[in-house]
Assembly symmetry: C2
Homo-oligomer: 347 residues x 2
DNA sequence: CTGAAAGCGCTAACAT
DNA sequence: ATGTTAGCGCTTTCAG
């Protein structure tokens, strides 16, 4: 492989010359070689190899109007993005899927409100073919930006303003939070538990609200004293558990909206000498990697395919891009990914 | 702001026409407006605004040969990248610095050995102007790739094959691990501790080895039974602590190579009823966000500016790029960032 | 200080 | 099946 000094890279012209064909033919070969006779294909490939030819991306983009890159917009002002293993796994899934389709991932971190302008310019600047974004809030500017930029987008997590997965405006991928919650609570009830409490997540996250709804689906007209608010953190789970215990010392089960809060609850339960699952059965949500299986006892929880969700997001976007190119195919629809109950020892 | 349907965006030509100037002048204005008379500048700017003109990036790159993007190569086969808050903070720093210089961040996740080819092609394909990469191992392919691609690169963490920061071949940014370790051990000694143990990090990470070296710098000819191996995880710290306690029940201080291991050690110490810092003083390293200040007692530790390191990496790279463009300025040199002892309650 | 003109490297009609 | 040609939208000499 020849070493290149910058700015002196061989062009398609050079390849064509060396192979003794026209630039057009060389181009055809480089792009798949459809409709070029074998011997010529070989000649060109040989020239490509010998010259160490690599297509100039800018030139290609200029004429095709496709960049081969998509943006991943992370608009989490809080440090949540990186600390939350949730995101990381989704990114991994996205990265894998994009990579498999020779598409690059441009990371757009929103560091502050002023950044939206920059991001909007970037999206509109033809740098990327599409965008992926996460957990939109009611007034989130991202959808408007992608619309204005005229590029397709797919979102992770149900946007807060759509309750209906059929809403075509903003295709998203989300776990079946509500169904998962039902699964968990149903399971606790089948265990014979009658006073099943819930530690809810923050009200501004749809996943938390959907899980709460699922809980209520099963426990119609549940006593409000059985529901405590948490913030998806270990500490908040502990606090909520203490609060519940105070209000309802008679509770015999807890469904926590995520594993982090479940582990906090577990700690409090242990401190008070309450046996799990003997006296209180506990179910979490997420099946979070280094949490659910590490607690004592290990958590029974609702598992989801987080990396798969990332892959799916990417796949939906790629499909939309393909549709743009070929002018056919179906508009991407939101997908709700399935969840499963993972039985361990806590319930 | 006019909404754009894809493929119909106004060109510089349109702007020029509307402003009644030539494309050349319009271009000059768009690129800073040097040497164009005020009234014309205003006219062009007005046209830009009215038309919602955004420069076509591909066209610009094609002629300038600059992409305005840099790659961040993450070659951590392990999931370490995302789980380790270390990386996240560095990325944040990098992102901030790049953003401030209107440069985009392209994330290149290496998912497997086969990916190196793809990455190499990408780097050589003129998609990015430079590259940032992390913690190189002895046989790491990244330096060769960037060299071949003819683009400058800056690394995070001292590569395992250079002991000397003056080595110009591979400019890197790293914390003063050795100095920090000295600081920690010195401090313990000044506290009057005489049997200071060390929980070391994995031998294949230079940061771990540098910290071990620092420990030895202060405690010349230290008894090997006072050093236990860990793996930078909580669990490994706990195991190492137990091991040390068994070997050296007389120890009166521990310097752990990072906070995670220190917190594991702390747990074991507590379980055994050993008071901290009363009987055993404990110092960590990193001042890791949700760890060091949350333990009981909070950790005395060696703090470093992780985000600052990221910024610095980006800054060095940007400087190198500038040098390429202007043909002047100095070659980037490796930088060792300072560390400080953060006193809390554990020592 | 401004404009005209020449490409950057590539793809995609259109010919042949 | 292959070659010819006309741009994609922009920057940058070079003239004026």
């Amino acid at each position: 492989m020849p070493e290149q000094s910058p700015g002196s890279r061989p062009t398609l012209e050079a390849v064509a010359a060396r192979a003794g064909v026209s630039r057009a033919t060389a181009s055809r070969v480089v792009n798949g070689g459809d409709g070029v006779r074998k011997p010529l294909v070989d000649k060109v490939l040989k020239a490509v190899d010998e010259l160490g030819y690599i297509p100039n991306h800018a030139a290609r983009t200029l004429v095709t109007r496709r960049t081969g890159a998509v943006a991943v917009v992370i608009a989490e002002p809080e440090t949540r993005f990186f600390s939350d293993p949730f995101f990381s796994q989704q990114i991994r899934g996205i990265s894998k899927e994009l990579t498999a389709h020779d598409t690059q991932l441009v990371l757009l971190l929103v560091e502050g409100p002023g950044d939206f302008d920059r991001i909007a310019r970037y999206l509109a600047g033809g740098h990327v073919d599409g965008a992926l974004a996460f957990s939109l809030h009611t007034d989130d500017p991202v959808p408007a930006m992608t619309r204005r930029a005229g590029i397709p987008a797919v979102y992770g997590g149900r946007p807060s303003w759509t309750a209906d997965p059929g809403d075509q405006a903003v295709p998203y991928v989300d776990a079946d939070n509500r169904g998962g919650a039902r699964l968990a609570v149903q399971y606790l009830r089948d265990l014979g538990r009658r006073r099943i409490a819930h530690i809810a997540g923050p009200a501004d996250q749809t996943s938390a609200m959907d899980r709460l709804d699922g809980y209520r689906d099963v426990l119609l007209d549940v006593d409000p004293t059985l529901v405590a608010d948490g913030a998806f953190t270990v500490e908040s789970g502990a606090r909520a558990m203490a609060e519940l215990l105070e209000r309802r010392p008679d509770l015999d089960a807890v469904f926590a909206a995520n594993d982090l809060m479940a582990s906090g609850a577990l700690r409090v339960l242990r401190e008070r000498g309450i046996s799990v699952p003997g006296q209180v059965a506990l179910v979490g949500f997420d099946d979070m990697d280094s949490v659910a299986s590490e607690t004592d006892p290990p958590l029974t929880t609702v598992g989801q395919e987080i990396e798969g969700q990332g892959r799916l997001m990417a796949r939906l976007l790629l499909r939309a891009l393909d549709r743009e190119r070929t002018g056919s195919g179906d508009v991407p629809e939101s997908v709700i990914t399935p969840v499963t109950l993972v039985r361990r020892a806590s319930a």
